[in-house]
């Protein structure tokens, strides 16, 4: 049993104070980082609720492994996407800001999830904490960045903004599900899962740093 709400309050308290002291981009980052923490907490609640609700239905009942692979990616990515959609719909004026906000939400989400894991399994093993940080942590940031770049791409293109936003969310969900599937394996396939997020992030960085990568860069 971990007390996720307590961990959330512990991390969020100084951030809430910092929101009043900071200005501009720094404040926006802190606000959406905190929202990412809250999204993680809500995703855990909703995930549990759906699993319990589905347990009563013969066809939709799932084992713990199936839940991790089938339901968790959908629930977590939707919870991460909602504040980003809200920002894009209400506040966004520059494309580069959308990517920053998406990354902040993703990092906040990853932070609370990692804290929960450490509270549950302990922080004695350096290798475990490193793997956790570079796999799940980077994966959440990569998924959020993918959605952020997608939303930056459709921003200002009103005709297909809705369909495009939904499509990029679907892409992030499937990527997340592939990661969960790989790390839930018993064999050496799990290592591939741990490497996947860092490899994807490296490929994304390489593409964005190349001159031809300007196609995908969230320029204004």
């Amino acid at each position: 049993m971990i007390y996720a709400e307590n961990i959330f309050m512990c991390i969020a308290a100084p951030l809430v104070i910092a929101m009043f002291l900071l200005r501009g981009d720094a404040r926006r980052f802190v606000v959406f980082f905190t929202i990412g923490l809250a999204a993680c907490l809500l995703a855990a609640y909703i995930n549990n609720f759906i699993v319990n609700a589905a347990a009563g239905l013969e066809y939709f009942s799932m084992s713990a492994a199936q839940t991790t692979v089938r339901l968790t990616p959908i629930c977590e990515e939707v919870m991460k996407a909602l504040p980003i959609y809200f920002y894009v719909a209400v506040f966004a004026t520059k494309r580069s800001d959308i990517v920053s906000v998406a990354l902040a939400v993703g990092l906040g989400f990853a932070t609370l999830e990692n804290c929960g894991y450490i509270a549950q399994y302990g922080a004695e093993d350096v290798l475990f904490t490193l793997i956790r940080g570079f796999s799940a942590g980077v994966m959440h940031a990569t998924c959020a960045a993918l959605l952020g770049y997608g939303l930056a791409f459709v921003h200002g293109r009103k005709h297909f903004a809705f369909a495009g936003s939904f499509a990029f969310l679907c892409m992030a969900i499937t990527y997340h599900a592939i990661y969960n599937l790989l790390v839930s394996a018993d064999s050496g396939v799990r290592i591939a899962g741990y490497i996947l997020p860092v490899a994807t992030a490296a490929v994304l960085l390489l593409i964005l740093r190349r001159p031809s990568g300007k196609l995908f860069r969230a320029t204004d």
């Binding site: 369909a163 495009g164 939904f166 499509a167 679907c170 592939i178 396939v189 196609l215």
Partner: protein, 234 residues
């Protein structure tokens, strides 16, 4: 949505359908990787960059869904049944295609808009076909009706826009010049997709038919890029 059907060709050992299944899965995945690269290359060169970027996104979604399905069999030793993240990736694929159609519609000239008004009623033929197919799935598999309903809604939108764009682009006037082939290929893709769902939902068919349809679907995807290129560079 899709479901693997097991049929044994040779009762002693060799399962021909397994060989075909692997060839189809790996072949389709390799083709999709190439299609993503091709679409991105076209995006770097052509004027309508957004069109090819959306197509690359569509292929990427399909690719991720395929990878998920293959890994699920490998890791879980079981076929992923609905509602799986692979279904989500296919919904993403259709959404990207809808986005392409909506993007093209936004570039219509006044002449094309006038022309489209004539075909709006005919375009309802697309959703009608999609709904007819999906009613049969829902009747046959009532337990997974939410999955079929979601697919029905998204595919109905795609059907409507595919039919509308196809009829409107027939005149070869305005910005839609030469996009007729693209919309024709999109209609072909939609029809093959519906047939694939139909075939995989009902048993008692020659097993090779399932893989033939899967390859027809892949061929349809392959034709989308040159068809879009033809229209975009016209």
């Amino acid at each position: 949505m899709r479901k693997r059907q097991k049929h044994s060709l040779f009762r002693r050992g060799i399962r021909m359908d397994d060989i075909l299944s692997s060839a189809t899965e790996y072949g389709q995945t390799a083709i999709l990787v190439l299609l993503v690269a091709w679409a991105l290359r076209c995006a770097a060169k052509c004027e309508r960059k957004w069109l090819f970027q959306l197509l690359a996104g569509a292929f990427c979604c399909f690719l991720l869904g395929n990878i998920y399905l293959m890994l699920h069999v490998w890791v879980m030793d079981d076929w992923a049944f609905v509602f799986s993240p692979a279904d989500v990736s296919w919904l993403g694929l259709y959404s990207f295609f809808i986005a392409v159609d909506l993007g093209l519609m936004s570039e219509w000239t006044q002449q094309e808009q006038q022309r489209a008004k004539k075909y709006r009623r005919m375009a309802w033929l697309g959703p009608a076909v999609v709904i007819a197919f999906h009613i049969s799935y829902i009747v046959l598999y009532p337990e997974i009706w939410p999955n079929n309903l979601v697919f029905c809604i998204v595919l109905s939108f795609l059907g409507y826009y595919a039919f509308l764009m196809f009829f409107t682009s027939r005149a070869k006037v305005g910005i839609q010049t030469n996009m007729h082939t693209y919309h024709g290929v999109m209609m072909f893709f939609l029809f093959v997709e519906l047939i694939l769902f139909f075939v995989s939902s009902f048993g008692g068919y020659p097993w090779i038919l399932y893989y033939a349809i899967l390859w027809a679907l892949t061929a349809g995807l392959c034709l989308l890029v040159p068809a879009a290129k033809k229209g975009a560079t016209a």
